[in-house]
Point group: none
Chain length 222, copies 4
DNA sequence: AATGAATGAGGGTTCATTCAT
DNA sequence: TATGAATGAACCCTCATTCAT
């Protein structure tokens, strides 16, 4: 049977998945290798055939589930078009989707917070490959918008952080309060964008936007 | 001797402080009672004179450092006066101060994220006694502002979350990236308020505000 | 192919050789089957095709490398001629050669010392098939020499042990100090035989000693 | 009660003794900390209160039981008087006593042989502090005896090794064959000294040998 | 014949907790 | 009160052994 070969090829992935669930559930230190093994349907020893130590398992697991985020961030950087406001809105929506819906991305934040001090490389990597580029992109967009007269110049400093904050905040609430957090995601996103643009636009930018449809909410009259 | 008595009375507090530092450094599971003891300048056994178990020590430590936050939140709730916009601005400033400068409050977030699943009472308590009231207060302010025509009604749903998000986001960044995060707090706060009000106010509300001084940045003319 | 068949026939020997090196390097308990396998150029599982357990592998390895010694001892027993002194000298030279130069024989001593308690059959076997016969041969030679008036009768008891001791001692030093032990083997052997036959004292020394009391046991007169 | 304090002061020594017995019985690798603990009448964990790791326990145990040997060697170096032959005889008797009767010293040899490769510092130390000085002392005695005309000059090279060999050989036999080795120690020592001083041959035997060729190196004149 | 993934029993080590002093 | 020696339950990791391929 190919059965065996198929299992073998899948094992590392299965173990990484089990590791994700286990570490997300209890944190690095409180998770036992046996927990991971049980979730993966193997015995303790089997894990060591694929991963050298508990630390390595954790690192590779984080690396595994970060890849998507990192790659997507790059794609997203290139894909957007339109006015600065439109592009920024698109970015915020993407970001929100990531944060609100992708449990893997969300738990990455938990890993950073919980165990970042013990795995500084992981933190650096996330900073270098995800956080810093994403922030830079937003900052660039803001600068471009300001240069074009679309955005008010007051928001230049640290505007990027404030723009992504609501999405990350939702992630954090879900990490902490879990299911008890009942949130209407559509409303959350709509309000977020509403805030964002209402506070951002110059009169010229508003007129520009007013001709489009996003947020075309009589704010033009402001 | 008084010296001894004084020491005795201070011991629990010293231990709680040591526990805070130790747990903040490595998380609940990875922290040893001996770490705490060493920081407190006592031996392992002494801790058990004051705290039944490691779990209880953690819980009481979190409770100890939460009290201030909880109490302050109540005080703050009562203390603000003025237009809704002014009160909201005051709240945001207070919140930002808490998040940006108070390391104890910041680390509480870490404890919630890291060990909340193992200490659900702590999470509930924070939710009940701090998070929910604070959110309710903001929501009430928003509702009042909308009713008075100061605020645009579009931001009613989940507006509170979005308003506090930037402050919490800064806390989170500091929890994760620690010292490498160079942030100009004044600029961060200014931008945050700028966003907030620019997106929030009706023409009437703006006029109102324009006569005050907060954020009186020509936005009235927008 | 013949190649394959040849390999097949050689496998057990290759594994035994690898086992010898591995066990000699780290001892029975600290050696892993994988160490042996790696040295033999096969995988762990393959060893189990030829040897039932780690214990059996060890036993058969010791047996394998003991055979030569045992057989040679027999041959040597028969081959020597001449006066008793000449035959004894020949024996000592043979013994010295074995001990000084044959690494396999040397490591057998290590195995006896290190793991003899866990493999008593191996010890007994060595005793029965090598040590006891060799000692008996020397003792017989001594008895014959004494009977012929060639040897002094004082050395009858335990003379055999003392005669083989220098050779074994050299082996032991090499087992312990390894390369750091710089020894001129020719000189070592010459001195050994010299001692054996003539002792330490010059005629003057003997007279001296005879007059004193330490060991002044009229041996001159013996 | 002082009971507790007394036990506490004795514990390390008791553990070292237990470790000696356990390691001597099964070797370093095959001995479990629990074996040592059981012998010492404590639990596994207690050992770690006094010794950092299994390796350290082993090292300190060897150090502990080596001290006597090392110190005594120094004392012995100074204490002997008389002719060179008398002093050498005294040394041999001392050495024999050590090897034949002191089980601790004997087992040190086993540790060197079994685990020396994993604990090279222990081997070096024994070499530096015991073996080399002892050998040097014998060599010096031999040189002095030769210079005085007491000893035959032929035995200058490696004479020391050959002189101590019989004692060490007995130790080795006991290490390997244990109780099954029935040895009359007095006879062994007497024969050893006899060989040492007078060699094997009777005057007749000497004459005989002088006419042959084996070792006919002017020794005939002895 | 050989591979190598997988098992499972242990062994070294840690650490929360206890308790005699 | 406080100490610190001691316990004992886990936990991480290793490795002899098995077995489907």
């Amino acid at each position: 049977m190919k059965e065996r070969a198929r299992r073998k090829a899948q094992r590392p992935g299965e173990i990484l998945e089990a590791a994700f669930e286990a570490f997300a559930e209890r944190g690095f230190a409180a998770t036992r290798m046996e927990d991971v093994a049980a979730r993966a349907g193997v015995t303790k020893g089997a894990i060591y055939f694929y991963f050298e130590t508990k630390e390595r398992l954790f690192e590779e697991m984080v690396g595994h589930y970060s890849q998507g985020v990192l790659a997507d961030a790059g794609a997203m950087l290139a894909a957007t078009r339109g006015t600065c406001a439109e592009r920024l809105t698109a970015f915020v929506k993407y970001m929100f989707g990531r944060c609100a819906q992708d449990r893997h991305s969300r738990e990455m934040i938990r890993f950073m917070v919980s165990d970042g001090k013990c795995f500084p490389q992981l933190v650096w990597r996330h900073y270098r490959e995800f956080f810093a580029p994403a922030m830079a992109m937003v900052s660039d967009l803001l600068a471009e918008g300001i240069a074009r007269g679309e955005f008010r110049p007051e928001i230049a400093r640290h505007g990027a952080e404030i723009i992504v904050a609501p999405s990350v905040f939702l992630s954090l609430m879900r990490l902490i309060f879990d299911d008890s957090m009942e949130i209407d995601e559509d409303a959350y996103l709509a309000t977020q964008v509403d805030f964002l643009l209402g506070g951002l636009l110059t009169p010229a930018g508003r007129k520009n936007l007013g001709e489009g449809k996003a947020c075309g909410d009589g704010r033009a009259s402001i």
